[in-house]
């Protein structure tokens, strides 16, 4: 049995300890907002917060995530980074960042983690921090603007 604390709730899971956190969340906890894009930590679609930091859940064995607070896109607004996360989600909607939307859970989780540690990032900091998150619709220009907008809203 592995115990996972996800979005403030505890789940007892009888699964392979080597199963990536991504698949435990998606198929055993039932939270599908976190996406599979590459499985090797190259695209960022699976980004969640583990102990407050952005991680690629496809590359974290579920056993390594036990006993830590995990936040997914579903719990972002009500979680420990709720104020920042809500501002990011709002800025994303104000600027209509999304296109296909498949990568955006990961983008929003990554951007929230960035703003939580750097409340006013410049473009270079945004580029450095967001480059691990691929968007094939290439919404990058709007992601940059939305991060600035969220930063301003958070003052």
């Amino acid at each position: 049995m592995i115990e996972l604390r996800v979005n403030g709730e505890t789940h007892q899971l009888d699964i392979d300890p080597q199963m990536p956190l991504l698949w435990a969340l998606r198929e055993h906890v039932g939270l599908t907002g976190t996406k599979y894009g590459c499985g090797i930590g190259q695209c960022g679609a699976c980004t969640v917060h583990l102990g407050g930091a952005a991680v690629r859940s496809c590359s974290v064995p579920v056993s390594a995530a036990a006993d830590q607070d995990i936040t997914t896109i579903e719990g972002l607004a009500d979680g420990p980074r709720g104020a920042v996360g809500s501002a990011v989600q709002q800025a994303w909607q104000d600027l209509d960042v999304v296109q296909c939307g498949f990568c955006q859970s990961g983008q929003i989780m990554q951007a929230t983690a960035l703003l939580a540690t750097d409340p006013a990032p410049d473009d270079a900091a945004i580029d450095t921090n967001m480059t691990g998150n691929i968007c094939r619709c290439a919404t990058y220009a709007r992601i940059r603007r939305a991060i600035h907008k969220a930063a301003q809203a958070l003052g």
């Binding site: 996406k35 296909c100 939307g101 220009a141």
Partner: protein, 738 residues
């Protein structure tokens, strides 16, 4: 449409058909779609999948609009939302004519039913592609909204005993100012359903538009996609569903000779391994187990008929073929003689590699049995009519027994409109091999998605062009070599004309430049590498060759590249005007850039839309470069959602920039060398330039915006690099060339 020539060059002529004949509103009282609702409840979340039935008391005047007594207006969208904004654009058209409140409108995907939901540019085929969604449905969806409005007004007039002409509709409220009566749509819904359906509802004049082309209307899918609740195929979970992973052949054309599944079936969670035509599928209770099981499979591949050439050999073969004449596509004047007499001849060879679509959501599909023996197919469905037939054939069903639910697609870029329905057929084979009683979800890994096809073909272009003594172009001889994406598919009768695949030559067949002597010919070698349209199709390679050569010619003539083009564009004012607008806005006439920097320009028309682009590059110390700024001018006729147009220009350019800079699929001994995003390189945030978009105001018919920005960026960047370095760039991706 305004220019029938475009029809010939785009994907609009799918299957020979009565294009445009069915342009009217499909009227009739809403019924659950025939063959669609016979089975269990639909599986997907609210507002995301098709086939919803009207509840008692709902007003559903036609196949596209449903008004509930709670005042919610559902707009049934016949086109897939894969990011391009259809679930915002199509409802905008209805909301405009209905005078609804934007907030009360909810989109819903249409069920499979080509009688009602066909693409009006594709005859009897239901599907999405070719940047046609807004263009084909522009009047149809407005009529749907106008008919519903007229019926609401009729119901109000009867209820209040006042003339219909005195009734107004504003923001979802029906009012009679003289009497002070007013009612919401919901309050009138039941009575409106009893009103006669108007045959030809009156549409607004463009001057009366309140939403079309005007407002920023928030995307309807934005919130769901920002909060993780938007449902994609990957997210579908059904009772007792099995997940499948497939071992695909290591080379195209290889077959399974045999396999040992003992290790795979020993993996906890794995149920069984089954042979299917495209490989061996492992079925398990979850994805992780299925993937572990697949990795544990031992497959004996028969590669005796497998394709074993590499990209280098293919390119060398194409170069040999390019020495011989191909099938003539266009012959105007006498290019050969004009070249012989030309004062200057410029000659260049351009090549582009195979490309994967690499949508963020890998190919996936759910098939679930219905109680009546039919099945339900759930996926980011782009090609309903084709896919329905293909799945029915595998399962031995009638097409109408295959119900399809259309979920959001996590990108497609053409991939989910596969003429062979490849991944749906694969899912059907797995479903069948597993007994046909259990729900099956096929998920391709990123490695499958990268290695199993289908690709934008590798292409070679050779262009020889001549200038007279005044530096004016007098001859253009152009030879194209590359696989047909159409031959052998159901689209061959429509799109291969006199042996010429029109998609291979679109963008090169018609030039916006007046050149008196032109000859274009084509070789279409057949290879077993699976190929398919890729966002912007033929233009992805023709625009590169044509616009780079125009730049080389301008340089040879000693003329400014904009002036050189404009002088030849008298008969193509819309291309000319976007070129000039891009130049003006893109700083073309500013002081020259510092050394080590360069500005390049390109213009191209595709899918009826005209796009001009200026790119600025800066060279770095390591033989590399960056693209710093891109300015885009677009003329796509009437604009429905200006911000969606801007977004498609930004994103379409960014998608093309991946191909321009770094993406390539290469074969060695027939094996695909790339497998995932660490070696199939795509644009990331750090290389996204600043983008600026300028829209040309227009009252012309609306044309598409999903694709037309994509092909223009590669020549703009190549020309900018040439300006910065003095060298010419003939191969994509440019980072390899640089």
């Amino acid at each position: 449409m305004s220019n029938p020539k475009i029809v010939n060059l785009s994907r609009r002529r799918f299957l020979k058909s009565s294009t445009g004949a069915a342009a009217g509103l499909t009227l009739g009282v809403w019924l659950p779609a025939r063959g669609q609702m016979a089975g269990p409840e639909r599986v997907a979340g609210p507002g995301m999948a098709g086939g919803g039935a009207a509840a008692a008391g709902d007003f559903a005047p036609n196949a596209f609009v449903r008004i509930a007594t709670d005042d919610n207006v559902t707009v049934v969208c016949k086109h897939l939302e894969m990011g391009q904004g259809t679930f915002t654009g199509l409802p905008t058209l209805v909301a405009e004519e209905l005078d609804a409140r934007w907030a009360q409108i909810q989109p819903e995907g249409a069920p499979v039913d080509a009688e009602r939901y066909n693409n009006l540019f594709w005859g009897s085929v239901q599907g999405t592609g070719g940047s046609t969604a807004i263009a084909n449905a522009f009047e149809q969806m407005r009529k749907a909204g106008a008919a519903a409005r007229a019926m609401l007004v009729g119901a109000a007039a009867a209820r209040w005993q006042v003339p219909a002409a005195e009734i107004t509709v504003v923001d979802g409220v029906v009012s009679h100012p003289k009497s002070g009566n007013s009612a919401t749509f919901g309050e009138l819904a039941v009575a409106a359903a009893e009103q006669p359906v108007p045959d030809e509802p009156k549409l607004k004049a463009p001057s009366e538009f309140k939403l079309i082309g005007k407002a920023f209307l928030p995307r309807k899918d934005s919130k769901a996609k920002c909060t993780g609740v938007a449902q994609f195929t990957q997210d579908v979970r059904l009772p007792n569903m099995l997940t499948a992973c497939v071992a695909h052949p290591p080379r195209f054309g290889a077959k399974v000779r045999g396999f040992d599944a003992s290790a795979a079936e020993a993996v906890p969670g794995v149920v069984e391994a089954v042979a299917i035509p495209s490989g061996v599928a492992v079925l398990a209770y979850d994805f992780w187990s299925a993937q572990q099981g697949r990795n544990a499979l031992t497959v004996d591949w028969d590669e005796s008929d497998a394709f074993k050439q590499g990209s280098k050999e293919i390119l060398a073969d194409y170069r040999r073929r390019a020495k011989e004449p191909g099938k003539t596509v266009t012959r105007v004047g006498d290019a050969e003689a004009a070249l012989a007499a030309a004062a200057t001849v410029v000659e260049a060879e351009y090549s582009v590699p195979f490309l994967a679509h690499a949508a963020m959501e890998t190919m996936d599909c759910v098939i679930t049995p219905d109680a009546d023996g039919g099945v339900r197919v759930v996926n980011g469905e782009q090609f309903q009519t084709i896919d329905q037939q293909a799945v029915a054939e595998v399962l031995g069903l009638e097409p109408e027994q295959v119900r399809i639910e259309m979920l959001y697609a996590g990108g497609s870029f053409g991939r989910r409109a596969n003429p062979q329905s490849d991944y749906l057929v694969e899912a059907a084979h797995i479903f069948k091999a597993a007994g046909g009683k259990t729900s099956v979800k096929l998920i391709w890994t990123r490695e499958d998605d990268t290695r199993a096809g289908f690709y934008r073909p590798l292409y070679l272009h050779k262009v020889r062009a001549g200038l007279d003594a005044d530096g004016k172009p007098v001859a253009w001889q152009h030879r194209i070599v590359g696989q047909s994406i159409i031959t052998g598919t159901a689209f061959e009768p429509a799109l291969v004309v006199d042996g010429i695949d029109q998609t291979s030559v679109e963008g090169a067949k018609e030039l916006p430049y007046a050149i008196p002597n032109r000859h274009l010919d084509l070789h279409s070698p057949e290879l077993p590498v699976p190929v398919q349209w890729w966002r912007a199709v033929g233009s992805t390679h023709t625009a590169f060759a044509v616009e780079c050569m125009m730049d080389e010619l301008a340089a040879a003539a000693g003329t400014d590249p904009v002036d050189f083009r404009v002088a030849l564009m008298g008969e193509h004012p819309r291309e000319r005007d976007v070129l000039k607008l891009a130049a003006q806005q893109g700083g073309w006439y500013d002081p020259p850039l510092a050394e080590g920097r360069g500005r390049g320009i390109a213009v191209h028309k595709s899918f009826g839309s005209h796009v001009g682009m200026v790119a600025e590059v800066t060279l770095d110390d390591d033989n590399g470069f960056s693209v710093d700024r891109v300015v885009i001018a677009v003329d796509c006729g009437t604009v429905v959602n200006p911000d969606v147009v801007v977004a498609q220009m930004e994103g379409g350019m960014g998608f093309g920039l991946s191909a321009a800079l770094m993406s390539e699929i290469t074969l060695v001994d027939g094996a695909v060398q790339q497998s995932n995003f660490h070696d199939y390189l795509v644009l990331r945030m750090d290389k996204m330039p600043e983008v600026e978009v300028h829209i040309v105001p227009s009252n012309e018919a609306p044309t598409g915006v999903g694709e037309p920005a994509t092909p223009v960026i590669a020549p703009a960047v190549a020309n900018a690099l040439a300006a910065a370095t003095g060298k010419r760039y003939h191969q994509l991706p440019l980072e390899r060339a640089a």
